[in-house]
């Protein structure tokens, strides 16, 4: 069976499964729609959180990015996992005890202010929209490459599926499809990784293969030593050494960690479990499930890099393998014969280098490069789609709850009935899907970059005010509002200045303390924190009943009787 037939089979099977689940788990009430009735078991919520969290970027791009930047890739690896420690220890249990539906719910009630609620709604919608466009685009790439339909058709198929289960089932439908999507995506990521690890090192566990000796066929010696040697020889930076300054890596890692802990679509997952104890447990499960992919990814990165150099370096162009030609057709890999010798010269010096490889294809093309069976190659497509669609659905839900619940029910139209609110929530998802689809088909050139910035914005707006709201009883409305506005504006301003207004100045010399726009969210977090604390010190303390809320969320039911 050809790769394409296998791909069709996997995609249709997995989509059928998602639709089946959607029909089975229809939402009947707003509580079903927003938080799956609050009855999701922690193991299922762990899986759903993992799928919600691991997006097209984690599945498709991350290992490829790491394989081109080497050790510095640590900011993705540690940043996107270390944030869960913050989430589990500082946020999840308390927000669960608080027990409402959304992040703006918490901010609005804790800071007894409609303005704070609306600022939170604005931040949540901004962050989620930026992020969801990237997912639709990711789904489009997978469709166009593996099913050979054009990107528009691909995006429309993806939109229809998400629309179907998100509108019908709300959080309930999304949760159980995400459980299925986690299984699909982790299987699709691990099978090729295990195959390649066995092929290259004789080790079935990629995490161990990463530090093992290569087999005779690949020239022996430790994988990483060999990769360092080859990189040096071809004039690439040494793989296991860092290229960016220490403070930049430090700040980017911190921004991604704080951002992870402040992303509304991840936080709301912890509202869906029955109690505080289960909220802690599901954070644990989520990180275990995420860690399976995240500890495999650096191994995949090293395997893919070694394999790529081994395969194409100094190869006569006439003899390139089939995968090379198919990916050339998508413009994601390109060869220009600068010295007209008919051989591919792949070196670090941009003047002499003849091969351009898009980092996104490393995971998608990896099984083909390693010559794995067709069904394994096809599996990757289904996995990429599962990753993109599961994250998109979680984000769309945040947008819809922000509109129907926080903006209409809790702010502008408090008199609507539950039935009307549910209808508005469904309409909001419908509109959000359309807008996201539009941007998926006509991506603004900077979408991929902006996705990374969503983290900086989440870090600088939500993370500090939520943590302060739990751990500092004295924190008040004025402090929170000033903090959120200051952090968000500072971070957005810095990013917009260096990426859109004055891109020429975007280098280490002009950056504040040598921190790149990717890492500025950390400074934004500190700005937010400092502004909030200072303002709170000079303004009135929060009213008694709000202080009572804080007392209450600090104590789980489990410690009471």
């Amino acid at each position: 069976m050809s790769v394409q037939l296998w791909t069709f089979a996997f995609v249709i099977l997995s989509f059928g499964l998602y639709i089946g689940i959607a029909i089975w788990s229809r939402a009947g009430s707003t509580s079903d729609f927003y938080v799956a009735g609050g009855g999701v078991p922690p193991l299922a919520n762990g899986m759903a959180t993992a799928a919600d969290w691991m997006s097209a970027a984690s599945f498709i791009s991350m290992a490829g990015l790491i394989s081109f930047i080497g050790r510095d890739g640590t900011f993705y690896l540690m940043g996107w996992t270390g944030g869960y420690v913050l989430l589990a220890l500082l946020l999840a249990p308390y927000l669960r005890k608080f027990g409402k539906f959304t992040v703006p719910d918490f901010i609005g009630d804790r800071y007894y202010s409609q303005s704070a609620r609306l600022i939170a709604v604005f931040c949540a919608i901004c962050i989620s929209f930026v992020y969801v466009c990237g997912q639709m685009q990711g789904a489009g790439i997978v469709f166009s490459r593996f099913l050979e339909v054009d990107i528009t058709t691909g995006v429309i198929i993806g939109m229809t599926i998400v629309f179907f289960y998100a509108v019908l089932g709300g959080m309930k439908g999304i949760t159980y499809t995400q459980v299925a999507q986690y299984c699909v995506l982790i299987f699709a990521f691990m099978v090729p990784a295990i195959f390649i690890s066995i092929l290259m090192t004789g080790q079935a566990v990629p995490q161990i293969g990463f530090g093992s000796q290569l087999t005779e066929a690949f020239g022996g010696g430790f994988l990483l030593d060999r990769l360092d040697g080859m990189s040096e020889q071809l004039g690439f930076p040494t793989y296991t050494e860092g290229q960016r300054s220490t403070q930049d890596v430090f700040f980017i890692t911190a921004a991604l960690m704080f951002g992870t802990a402040g992303l509304p679509h991840v936080i709301i997952r912890f509202f869906t479990v029955p109690n505080v104890r289960d909220a802690r447990r599901s954070a644990g499960f989520a990180l275990v499930f995420i860690a399976i992919l995240y500890t495999t990814a650096p191994a995949v990165a090293a395997f893919a890099r070694t394999n790529l150099i081994n395969t194409v370096s100094d190869l006569p162009y006439a003899e390139v393998p089939e995968w090379f030609t198919t990916w050339e057709a998508t413009n994601l890999i390109s060869f220009t014969d600068k010295d007209n010798d008919g051989r591919i010269r792949y070196v670090g010096d941009p003047e002499l280098n003849e091969l351009e490889v898009n980092r996104d294809i490393m995971v998608l093309a990896n099984p083909e490069i390693a010559g794995l069976p067709n069904w394994v190659v096809a599996l990757v497509a289904a996995g990429g789609l599962a990753a993109a669609l599961s994250t998109a659905a979680g984000l769309l839900l945040v947008i819809s709850t922000s509109v129907a619940h926080d903006m209409l029910k809790r702010s502008f139209m408090p008199s609507i009935t539950e039935k009307q609110e549910l209808l508005f929530a469904r309409c909001a998802i419908f509109v959000a899907v359309l807008i996201a689809g539009y941007f998926g088909i006509n991506p603004p050139a900077y979408v991929a970059q902006v996705v990374a910035f969503a983290f900086g914005l989440a870090a600088a707006s939500f993370f500090p005010v939520i943590v302060l709201g739990i751990f500092l009883k004295r924190m008040n409305r004025e402090g929170a509002i000033v903090g959120m506005v200051a952090g968000f504006t500072f971070t957005a301003g810095y990013i917009i200045y260096f990426r859109f207004i004055n891109p020429a100045a975007d280098n280490a010399e002009n950056w504040l303390f040598g921190i790149s726009p990717e890492g500025i969210g950390t400074v934004g977090t500190l700005v937010n924190l400092a502004a909030a604390l200072t303002v709170a010190k000079f303004t009135q303390e929060p009213p008694e009943d709000v202080q009572a809320i804080v007392e209450d969320i600090r104590l789980p039911e489990e410690a009471l009787n």
Binding site: R71, T246, T253, R280, G284, P298, A559
Partner: protein, 97 residues
């Protein structure tokens, strides 16, 4: 739960969170970023230690930290549940006399 108990519970909670977060910081920002070059001098198998912590080791530590947190908090919860039970029990006895 009596006010006193609530305060003590919260203090114990903060102690657990702070100690786990210091390990979190030491391993990830310390081992994986600030002292990575120093640790790279130590080798095991095909890994340099600093590189390994940065790309894999820290993630394993994160998982363990959350699991330890779940365990410690469960223990704390059950201790306080019993205690507030006792307090109430005594109060009830007192009122009967």
């Amino acid at each position: 739960m009596a006010d006193n108990n609530a305060r003590e519970y919260w203090k114990a909670n903060i102690r657990i969170v702070l100690s786990l977060l210091s390990i979190w910081f030491l391993v990830s920002f310390g081992g994986g970023i600030l002292f990575v070059d120093l640790l790279d001098n130590i080798r095991f198998g095909g890994f340099k230690l600093g590189f390994w912590i940065a790309q894999q080791g820290a993630i394993f530590v994160f998982v363990v930290l959350i699991l330890v947190y779940i365990f410690l908090m469960d223990k704390l919860d059950s201790r306080y549940k019993n205690r507030s039970f006792e307090v109430q029990h005594k109060e009830n006895e007192g009122s009967e006399q």
